[in-house]
Symmetry: C2
Subunit: 413 residues, 2 copies
């Protein structure tokens, strides 16, 4: 059904796999050295979960940072050695000291971009030192709304400060701690592409190549609208209780509805048609039952996506990350509202790729960025990849994206 699940998987002992990996955890803010967010509030305890693959060269010039998307994590490649199966009754629980993230879901899957990262793969770990960290506000090991607030001893919930694009600043702190000055490349898709762009804008001197996939300098009005519905669903779930639900039932129905909706925006109309059409879930039936139970295959797919998501993601984290998506606006941040002014800062070689049927971060939106860079008389490589997989294409079109990455990363100059 899902193209991704039918993809061949590199087992941990495959020569093309980075093998077993152990996530690292590092404390990047302390009461003595708090992390101040853009909104002005500070966190006195920030732990970041990250993974690395390959080896840093003696010249420290081969580092590549991978930025993950909305529901992603630091586990981009290989097999997580600490992954364990979730207990049957396992609900999302606040992290104890930031060290017990829920990640039973990883048990049987390699990292989310394992197809791209590994020895001999497009992001070749025999040449590059690859880093991926979980974003602030998420629920996969990095401090977020489910973490315990050291001042109260209780989970932050909605008292966690709103995150805008503090992600990149925290990643920079992580690189500092790892002794990495410059990045050979920063790469991301979707919300990860937004971070790659922000890297090129915020730290132009530290980025040699910026690879931005299926992302735009800001979310469209339609995107903000979909996020508004998702947020409404979560925050009006009676189990939400203003974000203080950790010790009780979680707002699963609201989060599931939000995720189902999101999945529609990740697929294209033509993709949905090709994948499901109006097929009934039970193909042995000639006619539907004419009722309110699940009948169509597409309903069953969405229900399943909602159901598995609430087992692996925290509703508060979802709210924080959606809001960061809403608020990000490269032109406003760096150009006083003028995107051309903003991108004058960029010194990295940029590659921008959109996907023809992506209607969440549309080719038009991506091209706004490309046009702006062109107007500064700087080179930018742009490709609109023909695909029916919609926004998901950046993860699904592994061959085309792979050859693009391979080519762009080839020249070590």
């Amino acid at each position: 059904m899902n193209k991704r699940s039918s993809k061949p998987v590199d087992e941990p002992d495959s020569p093309n796999s980075v093998g077993w990996v152990t996530p690292g955890r590092i404390r990047l803010a302390t009461p003595e050295k708090p992390f101040t967010l853009e909104v002005g509030e500070s966190l006195s305890d920030v732990v970041v979960e990250y993974e690395t693959y390959g080896e840093l060269s003696p010249a420290r010039d081969n580092a590549i940072l991978i930025c993950h998307a909305l529901s992603g994590d630091a586990h981009a490649a290989g097999w997580d050695v600490s992954a364990t199966r979730r207990t049957a009754s396992g609900r999302f629980r606040p992290m104890k000291d930031g060290y017990t993230p829920p990640r039973g879901y990883r048990t049987k899957k390699p990292g989310w971009w394992d197809s791209m990262i590994g020895p001999g793969k497009p992001i070749d770990t025999s040449r590059f030192f690859v880093i991926c960290s979980n974003v602030l506000g998420s629920c996969y090991g990095t401090t977020g709304p489910a973490s315990l607030n050291p001042e109260t001893g209780r989970p932050y919930g909605l008292t966690f400060p709103v995150v805008v694009e503090d992600w990149v600043r925290l990643q920079a702190l992580l690189l500092d701690a790892l002794g990495i000055g410059d990045l050979y490349a920063v790469i991301g898709g979707s919300l990860g592409g937004q971070q790659a762009l922000e890297w090129a804008l915020a730290y132009p001197e530290r980025v040699r190549k910026a690879i931005i996939l299926a992302a735009a300098p800001r979310l469209s009005t339609q995107g903000v609208a979909f996020n508004a519905v998702a947020r409404y669903s979560i925050m009006n779930d009676p189990n939400f209780r203003d974000g203080h639900y950790y010790s009780d039932a979680n707002p699963d129905h609201g989060l599931a509805a939000a995720r189902m909706l999101a999945h529609i925006t990740y697929l294209s109309e033509e993709g949905l048609d090709a994948k499901f059409g109006r097929r009934l879930q039970d193909e042995s039936k000639e006619n539907p039952d004419f009722g309110f139970e699940i009948e169509f295959a597409v309903e069953s797919y969405l229900n399943h996506q909602g159901k598995v998501f609430v087992e692996r993601f925290d509703a508060n984290s979802y709210l924080y990350i959606l809001r960061a998506m809403d608020y990000y606006d490269a032109a406003a941040r760096w150009g006083g509202g003028d995107l051309v002014e903003a991108v004058r800062r960029i010194t990295a070689e940029t590659l921008v790729a959109s996907f023809s049927s992506d209607w969440l971060y549309t080719p038009d939106g991506c091209q706004e960025l490309v046009h702006a860079i062109c107007r500064t008389a700087k080179p930018v490589t742009y490709i609109d990849i023909l695909s029916q997989y919609g926004h998901d294409a950046f993860l699904v079109e592994t061959e085309r994206v792979g050859s693009l990455l391979r080519g762009t990363l080839k020249a070590r100059g």
Copy 2:
């Protein structure tokens, strides 16, 4: 904000208004003569609310049937004489004997297509006798899930039989009762356009002209997917209680989320951009507050749409009508899956209009119907109207739609 609300309104005493109207109510099924639905179940009591404008000619050859869309009603033109303001605490209540529909919302508004229907208007009531009836399963006067089941004395709720395209058959019974054999024209947009198509297929001998706006022979997979999320939201609202909520709190949050989502699908991306962009709701603010309250104008618009909808619509009716939308498939019904075979039945002159930015019933979907009719070597008039108003365009583009209707209805031959 909303183009429709800034439209000039014909007051009841205007020469272009049909003036004050009183809805009619007629019992079309009784225990002696039940109405059997397509799914096989029967209703022993069916009341239909309808309105008429203009006068039936002595030759009875000037009748036009108007079919309403999802959340519409029989009140298509003029001013409802029985409309009263809803009480402040007024929640949706089951109809007593089918005679007390909630329609306080009509107080200050003329009928939903008043711009098209009236003396001298495109659907000219000085020439035509115009009929519009509320569909089976709705909550505006025609029997639906909120009506009392005569066998139990309680509202049907989800025990109401699933409606597929019984609407048209019930409309035919209404015309019989009104002494109208043939229709000069049947006209509808969206779900109303689906009914106009079904009329041309089910009663070819009774329809001279079929005008189908922003509709298709079946809903797209993406449409089914959006409906699945809407249904999930409603049915998982804890107030839903399997549809038996009438004597208690209603599933307002679920219904509001469904409606907010629907409104995104009614507008186009470009329309949303033009109407709201990333404007803040409070335009006096230079920067957002960075929180989870409503900040963007588009959020406020959607929230408002959700809020007003739950005051005027019944969640069960919404479920029934969405499901009818899902299940309708003209090719399956009339051509064994082959649309060309199906449309061979059509003898009416057909006009099909799509709207360029409509992504719910896309131009592509409308063109499937047009192509099929062409392949039967029958004439069909088709136009794709350039508009940024998305699916809403069939209601908003009054000038273009008006001139189209005027021209098509002109020739009385």
